[in-house]
């Protein structure tokens, strides 16, 4: 965590006057008999950065996976970019075009080169001409500082490089919202920083972001708000300063002490 801690807080780009980018209204979800999301309500403004933390099994990954419907919720409403998530396939396609996602295990397509990983969706989903898609891909690969790897296959890259490719791949769709599901948890310590720096750069550009992470330094630097989840519900919610300096609940206090001891 060390170095990112000392950075100044990235100026917020949240626009509270505009309609919210994401609205969750009393969302409930069960895996069989297991109640994994309990009455979760949350609004994320355009340009806002929200960090979701909590012990494992608290439902934080499930929560963000509901936002682009990799998981379906059973009760309540989820509205993304003014479109409500229902069984309507057209609405779902529209939302997935606007919401980029970065996974813990990268999930790059191993049989395609880095460049093809980045251009596939723009070409086939956005119907972009190939040359234009490649220019765009190179632009974002430069932003994540690995343009020289464009012709390689993902398996030839380090974990940190792969995760940066995954970020570039998501950005090539020009999403309005980015979801990060524990993007640094599968990385070796020396590679965490390069990925976090990329994400901080993204935050500085005003991207709406929801990030599940245990990197408290990143949360302090970037987050407008921190959401603490435990056992499927939002326990506490506030600015990083409030949350980390003055936790109100015992559950958050316990969680913070465990996280800090772990590092």
């Amino acid at each position: 965590m060390g170095e990112t801690l000392e950075l100044d807080h990235v100026a917020s780009a949240a626009r509270t006057d505009a309609p919210p980018a994401i609205t969750l209204d009393r969302v409930n979800k069960w895996f069989g008999a297991l109640h994994v999301l309990r009455d979760v309500s949350l609004q994320v403004a355009q340009g806002e950065r929200v960090v979701v933390c909590g012990p494992s099994g608290s439902g934080k990954s499930t929560l963000i996976r509901c936002i682009n419907r990799l998981e379906t919720h059973q009760e309540g409403r989820i509205i993304v970019d003014d479109i409500e998530l229902t069984d309507d396939i057209k609405a779902l396609d529209a939302i997935r075009r606007e919401v980029g996602m970065v996974f813990q295990s990268f999930n790059l397509f191993p049989h395609l080169t880095v460049l093809d990983n980045c251009t596939l969706a723009p070409i086939w989903v956005r119907r972009m001409p190939k040359a234009e898609a490649e220019t765009l891909a190179m632009h974002y690969l430069e932003r994540v500082k690995i343009p020289e790897q464009a012709r390689k296959f993902p398996g030839q890259l380090s974990g940190g490089q792969q995760q940066r490719v995954a970020i570039a791949r998501a950005l090539c769709m020009k999403p309005k919202i980015m979801l990060f599901d524990e993007p640094t948890s599968a990385l070796d310590p020396e590679m965490i920083k390069e990925v976090l720096d990329t994400m901080i750069g993204l935050a500085a550009d005003g991207m709406t972001m929801i990030c599940v992470t245990h990197e408290m330094g990143f949360a302090r630097t970037v987050a407008d708000r921190v959401v603490f989840m435990d056992r499927g519900e939002i326990v506490e919610l506030g600015t990083p300063a409030e949350m980390f300096e003055h936790p109100k609940t015992d559950r958050l206090r316990l969680f913070l002490s465990q996280i800090l001891r772990g590092h």
Binding site: N68, F103, F109, P110, H111, L112, V125, Q156
Partner: protein
């Protein structure tokens, strides 16, 4: 601080040429030592096996070449019989090769099935080259198969008409195998995808198909196609026997290949599906660009295994009286003059099957290495 002491001689010449490993451990000598003569026991086994191998090879050369008879005049096979097994009677092949290859196809028209075989091989070679893997290849297939149909049936362009009952030999084997696998493979992919469908009707249908077809022997399916199926047809309607056998083979191979393909689909991590979904790819885009290219690469070995198996299983059509290569060979030695020379005929037919199957096997190895380049680091 450190136990490492520098050798001053080496330190003075830092770029001393790297020494190669001792001769006794690398190269041919080293290989022989390691693998064949590593101990007294292994030396003994090596020598014993080498003796047997050489004896057998010498015996085969004597039988197959030195003492063999290549031609006999006018079916006078007495010379062959006089050998009493000491030499091969390749005269049976010399005499009967046209019948073995082309069955009862009219003799003076044999150039037509011969050309068909050449066209098939050409089609295989072109299809095997990745540089031709684009949609035009489908056109080439349709065109070639049309030409093959015209050549076999005739009746146009001044070619005399030859009814299907008179076709036989290698073209039949190639037709059954090529059409069988060309139709069974796409069918298998659809069924494998269908078995994982979220729609219950499609899923149940695909499971039923696979389990029903897999549950019966191919022979019984061929019997059904040849004997039972016509009973259900209206009076006067008749579907070609070869076509019925062909459909039976397609359905049977399809069920087996579907399970192979499904194995590949199962092996893909869920993250690949999720990443494709998250990017907004549609079901068919996801399947075509992400899932199938990876799943099929994973199952090349069992896929080719099944292909080779079905290439040879086409010979089972002999039980419903279709003249494939094996049946033609069997029939060739029914004639009294040539009875008793089955070994020569079966060796020849085996060699033909081997050439095709071995080519498939070698090709798949190359393809596998080529397509899995991305897994190398």
């Amino acid at each position: 601080m450190s136990d490492i002491t520098l050798n001053p001689a080496v330190a003075a010449v830092p770029d001393a040429a790297p020494r190669s490993a001792p001769m006794a451990q690398i190269g041919l000598v080293g290989w022989l030592r390691r693998n064949l003569f590593s101990s007294w026991l292994s030396t003994a086994v090596t020598l014993a096996l080498a003796y047997l191998l050489i004896r057998w090879a010498v015996g085969f050369v004597e039988w197959g070449i030195v003492n063999a008879i290549w031609v006999v005049p006018n079916n006078q096979t007495q010379a062959c019989r006089d050998l009493a097994g000491a030499g091969a009677c390749w005269a049976v092949i010399t005499e009967k090769h046209r019948f073995i290859l082309f069955g009862t196809y009219p003799f003076e028209q044999h150039w037509r099935p011969a050309l068909v075989c050449v066209l098939f091989v050409g089609l295989y070679v072109i299809s095997a080259m990745r540089r031709f893997w684009r949609w035009e290849l489908a056109l080439i297939w349709v065109a070639t198969l049309t030409v093959i149909g015209v050549l076999m049936w005739g009746g146009v362009f001044g070619l005399p008409y030859v009814p299907q009952e008179r076709w036989g030999g290698l073209p039949i084997t190639l037709i059954l195998a090529t059409f069988g696998l060309a139709f069974a493979f796409p069918l298998a992919i659809l069924v494998a995808l269908g078995r994982r469908s979220k729609l219950p009707a499609i899923k149940v249908l695909c499971i039923l198909y696979v389990e029903l077809i897999r549950g019966v022997p191919l022979i019984s399916l061929l019997f059904m196609a040849s004997v039972m199926f016509p009973l259900f047809l209206p009076e006067g309607m008749n579907i070609d026997k070869l076509l019925r056998a062909q459909i039976a083979i397609i359905l049977f191979a399809g069920a087996y290949l579907a399970e192979v393909v499904r194995g590949g689909l199962q092996a893909l991590p869920r993250g690949q599906y999720e990443a494709a979904d998250a990017l907004g790819l549609s079901y068919w885009q996801k399947t075509g660009f992400i899932i199938l290219p990876q799943a099929l690469r994973l199952v090349i070995p069992p896929l080719v295994n099944t292909f080779i198996g079905f290439f040879k299983d086409t010979s089972l059509v002999l039980i419903i009286g279709i003249f494939d290569l094996l049946t033609a060979g069997k029939t060739a030695i029914i004639e009294p003059a040539w009875q008793g020379f089955g070994v020569e005929v079966y060796i020849t037919i085996g060699a033909i099957y081997f050439v095709f199957c071995f080519a498939m096997s070698k090709y798949s190895q190359g393809l596998e290495a080529d397509l899995n380049r991305h897994r190398r680091r």
